[in-house]
Symmetry: C2
Subunit: 453 residues, 2 copies
C-alpha cells in the first residue's frame, strides 16, 4: 500500500493470526465502516484511531456458541442433577424478572468483552433485555428466547419469541440476530416444536436448542417416542442447516449420520457436560462426519465463567481423554472451533471468524507479556508454538483489547461501552434480591453450615 | 488485642479464609518472624509494613504437589505418547545444561509467585539450580532430583542426589527441602529404587516419584514383576508415609488399600493425565481410603501452565465426569486439596496449609473485583459462594499478592524478589538455544508447515 487513504481504525504492529490458510505475520489491520479493508506489514493509512498491538496477538474474536445469560454463579453447586434442576434451577427461573435479566445481560456481556468473546449465542428469559444490552455493549449476539411449555411459567413462549423477533431481529446495525429457542425435546411438546420449526422457517432465521445432553434425556425420549433424541427432533421439529444444537453427548453412529445429513451444527460445552456428570461429546467423530462444531461455555451456573480459552483447552483435553489418544483434536483445530468453525456453526462465516478483507472487523488483542506464555518460538517460517500457547496456556485475562464491527469495545484492558463499577453494583444488588426472592438463599447457607463442621 | 505491639507485617481488612474449621471472616492477619501471630478483626499492631486487603480474599498459599521446572512449553504437542517420550522428551532432557535449568527455574518460580503457588514439588535435572533460584525467589520448595538409570544421560543419579541433599537440604531458612526423586518404576532399576529408599530413610527425608500413570506402565511392570506398579514399588523401594506418588491413575482396589495401609501420599495431576490420554485417577476412592491427596499441575510441557486454580477446577470436573455424579468432590474438598491436604501430602501440615497462629505465614491475596467473580453472596452467616467462586471460576491472574514465610514476594501484582523483564529475556534466549541444541526445532516447524496447508 503506497497511497495514504483514510480509514477509521488501524491495529498496528501485532502478530496477526488470520485463521484462514495464512500463517501468523507481523503487521497491521485497517478497518473502515466496520469492515476489514487491508491486512499487511506497514500499511500506509491515516486513521481516526490507531491501536498499538506490538507484543500482542491479533486474533479473530472468539465465538461463544452456547450460553444462557444469568447471574446464578456459585449458588447451586455439587448437587445431584434432579435436585439441581427441579428443586433449584426451574423454581429460580420462575422468579426471574426483566430487571434480573437486564442485570444478567450486563454481567455476561461485560465478562464476554473482557474475555475476548465477540459473538455469543444466548438462550434465556426476557430476550429483549439481552438484545437491548447488546445494542449498547457493541457485541454481536444471537439471541434465542428459551421456550418451555412442559412447565408453565419458567420459560418463554412462541408468542413472546415471535414478538421478540419482530422487535429485535437485525438490531444494532445487524449485530443482533433473533432466533427461535425451543429448550429441549423433553421440555417442549411435539406441537410446540413443530410450531417453532414452522415459525422460524417462515422467517428464514435460526433455531437453537439442547440435544442429547444426558442419559436421562436419552432414555426418556426413547421411552416416549421409540426414537433417539436426534431422530425424534428430526421428526417433530425438522432438522436442518438452520438448527444449532448444544451438547450432542449421547449420540450414536446413526445420530451422527443424521446430524451430518441434515447439516445440523453443534455447540460443544465440555465443562458443563463434565460438571453435571453427563459425559463427553464425540467431537472428533462429528468433525469427521463433516458437522460444523463450535465451542460454548454454557451458563455461569454450570461453568462458572465465560472463559473460552479455558473451554478450548477443555475441548482438547476431554477428546484426548475419551480416545486415550494425545494426538486427537490438535491445537489448530481447537482454535478453529473457537473462531471460524464457531462462525460456521452460527451461519455467520461470510461475515466473521477469520481476519480477511471484506469481513466485519471482529477481533481481539492478546498480550504475550505474561510468564505463562513464555518462551515464544519465532523463526523465518513463523511462530512455532503460538497457537499451542493460545489453546493450552492462555486465559481470558490475557485479552487486552476487543473490537466488534469495527467498534473498539475494550482497549488496554479498559471497557469503552459498559461501566464496570455500575454493573458490579447492579449485579450485586439484583443478584442478592433474586437469591432471596427465589427462595434460594437457604441453599448457600445450608452448604456454609456443612462446611463449618 | 488491645495492646499495641510490633510485628513485621499486617494484612488488613481482607476476607480471611483460614481453611481450618473456621469459616471466612473479615479481618486482619499479623505476622512476625515469618510466623502468623494473630488473626482477627481490627488487630491493634504496629507493623513495619501493612498491606491493604480490602475486597480481597486472604487464603493459605497454594501447594503445587507435582511439577518439573522446565521451559518446553508448546514444543511437543498433540503427538502419540511413544513419539512424544522417545523421540522428543528424553532426547531433549539429554541436551539440558545447568544454564537451561536456571532459566527454567526462574520461569517456573516467577509464574508460580504470580499464580498464587507458595510451595511446589519439583522433579527435574540439575536440582542445585532450582534450589538456588528458590533461595532467591523466596518460595517454599521440595526438590527431588529426577533419577533415571534405564536411559543413561537423561536424568540424575544417586550420587548427584546425595550431593544435592548435602548441599541444599534446609537452605533458605528451611524453605528448601531436598528429597529423593526416582523417576518411575519403569525408568529406574530395582537396585536403584532400593538404594534410593535406603538413602532417603537414612536421612529422614522424603521420596517423590511417579506411579501408575499409564496403561503401558501397568502392563509392562506386571509383565516384568507379576505385580501391579504399586505392589512392585512397595517390594523394591518400600512404600511409606515418606513417599509422594504422582498420578495413581491405574490403581485397583488392592492398590488403593496398599497405598492407604502404607500411608503413601498422592499428587493428582488431572490436566496432564487428560492431555497425555492416560485417564482419570480415582480420587474420591483414595480420599475415602484416608489417603493424603494434593493437586499438581505437572510440567508446563503437559499442562501447559502452573495455574492451580484451573487445576482445582479440573480435579472437580474429572471426578464428576468419571462418577457421572455432580455431587462428588465438592468445592470445599477441592480447595482443601490445594491447601491443607496438599501440605499434608508433603508432610508440611504442621507448618503451612491453613492460616493459624503459630504456622508459617504462607498466604495469597485474591482480587474479587473481577466480573467473573460477581455476584458474591454475603450474609451474617458468612460468604455463601466464596469457596465456589475460588474453585469453579477464579484463575491464577486473580492473585495480586503472595507472601511466603512472612516475606512479601508480590504485592499489588508487582514482584519483589524476581525481575520479570530479565527473566523473560533469559528464558527466551536460553529456550531458543535449547530448542535448537536439542534438535527440536524441526518439530515445531513441521507442525507449522502442516497448519499452513
Amino acid at each position: 500500500m503506497s497511497e495514504t487513504s483514510n480509514v477509521d481504525l488501524v491495529i498496528r504492529g501485532g502478530i496477526v493470526l488470520p485463521m484462514d490458510d495464512r500463517s501468523a505475520f507481523e503487521g497491521d489491520v485497517a478497518i473502515k465502516g466496520g469492515e476489514i479493508v487491508a491486512l499487511g506489514a506497514d500499511l500506509d493509512f491515516a486513521a481516526s484511531e490507531e491501536i498499538d498491538a506490538s507484543g500482542r496477538v491479533v486474533l479473530p474474536g472468539l465465538v461463544n456458541a452456547h450460553t444462557h445469560e444469568c447471574m446464578e454463579r456459585g449458588w447451586f453447586e455439587d448437587l445431584p442433577f434432579d435436585v439441581w434442576l427441579n428443586d433449584h434451577a426451574l423454581p429460580k427461573d420462575r422468579a426471574y424478572t426483566p430487571a434480573d435479566q437486564r442485570a444478567a445481560a450486563l454481567l455476561n456481556q461485560a465478562e464476554s468483552i473482557v474475555s475476548g468473546v465477540t459473538t455469543f449465542v444466548d438462550m434465556f428469559r426476557f430476550p429483549g433485555e439481552a438484545a437491548s444490552v447488546a445494542v449498547d455493549s457493541g457485541l454481536r449476539a444471537v439471541i434465542a428466547p428459551q421456550l418451555i411449555d412442559s412447565t408453565p411459567g419458567v420459560g418463554e413462549t412462541l408468542e413472546t419469541n415471535l414478538a421478540f423477533f419482530e422487535e429485535w431481529h437485525g438490531a444494532g446495525d445487524g449485530r443482533v440476530s433473533a432466533w427461535f429457542g425451543p429448550h429441549a425435546p423433553y421440555s417442549c411438546s411435539g406441537e410446540a416444536l413443530a410450531a417453532v420449526g414452522e415459525a422460524a422457517r417462515a422467517r428464514g432465521t435460526g433455531i437453537a436448542t439442547h440435544l442429547a445432553e444426558s442419559r436421562w434425556e436419552d432414555s426418556s425420549i426413547r421411552e416416549k417416542s421409540g426414537l433417539s433424541p436426534a431422530a425424534y427432533l428430526d421428526q417433530v421439529l425438522g432438522l436442518g442447516a438452520d438448527v444449532l444444537v448444544a451438547h450432542a453427548v449421547h449420540v450414536d453412529v446413526a445420530d451422527i449420520q443424521l446430524l451430518a445429513d441434515r447439516d445440523v451444527a453443534v455447540a460443544h460445552c465440555p465443562t458443563s457436560n463434565m460438571k453435571l456428570g453427563n459425559g463427553i461429546a464425540p467431537i472428533p467423530e462429528l468433525l469427521e462426519a463433516g458437522i460444523r462444531v463450535g465451542i460454548g461455555t454454557d451458563s455461569i451456573m454450570t461453568n462458572n465463567n465465560l472463559d473460552l480459552f479455558e473451554e478450548m483447552r477443555q475441548a482438547a483435553l476431554v477428546a484426548k481423554l475419551r480416545r486415550e489418544d494425545p494426538a486427537v483434536l490438535p491445537a489448530w483445530t481447537i482454535l478453529e472451533m473457537a473462531t471460524i468453525r464457531g462462525a460456521e456453526a452460527l451461519g455467520l462465516a461470510d461475515k466473521i471468524g477469520t481476519l480477511e478483507v471484506g469481513k466485519r472487523a471482529d477481533l481481539i488483542l492478546i498480550d504475550l507479556d505474561r510468564p505463562h506464555l513464555w518462551p515464544l518460538h519465532r523463526s523465518e517460517s513463523g511462530f512455532g508454538n503460538l497457537v499451542e500457547h493460545l489453546v493450552y496456556s492462555a486465559r481470558a485475562s490475557d485479552v487486552v483489547g476487543t473490537v466488534v464491527d469495527g467498534q473498539v469495545l475494550m482497549a488496554d484492558s479498559t471497557l469503552r461501552t459498559l461501566d464496570l463499577v455500575e454493573i458490579r453494583r447492579v449485579v450485586q444488588q439484583q443478584g442478592d434480591d433474586l437469591l432471596r426472592r427465589a427462595g434460594a438463599e437457604a441453599v448457600v447457607l445450608e452448604r456454609l453450615g456443612r462446611r463449618q463442621l
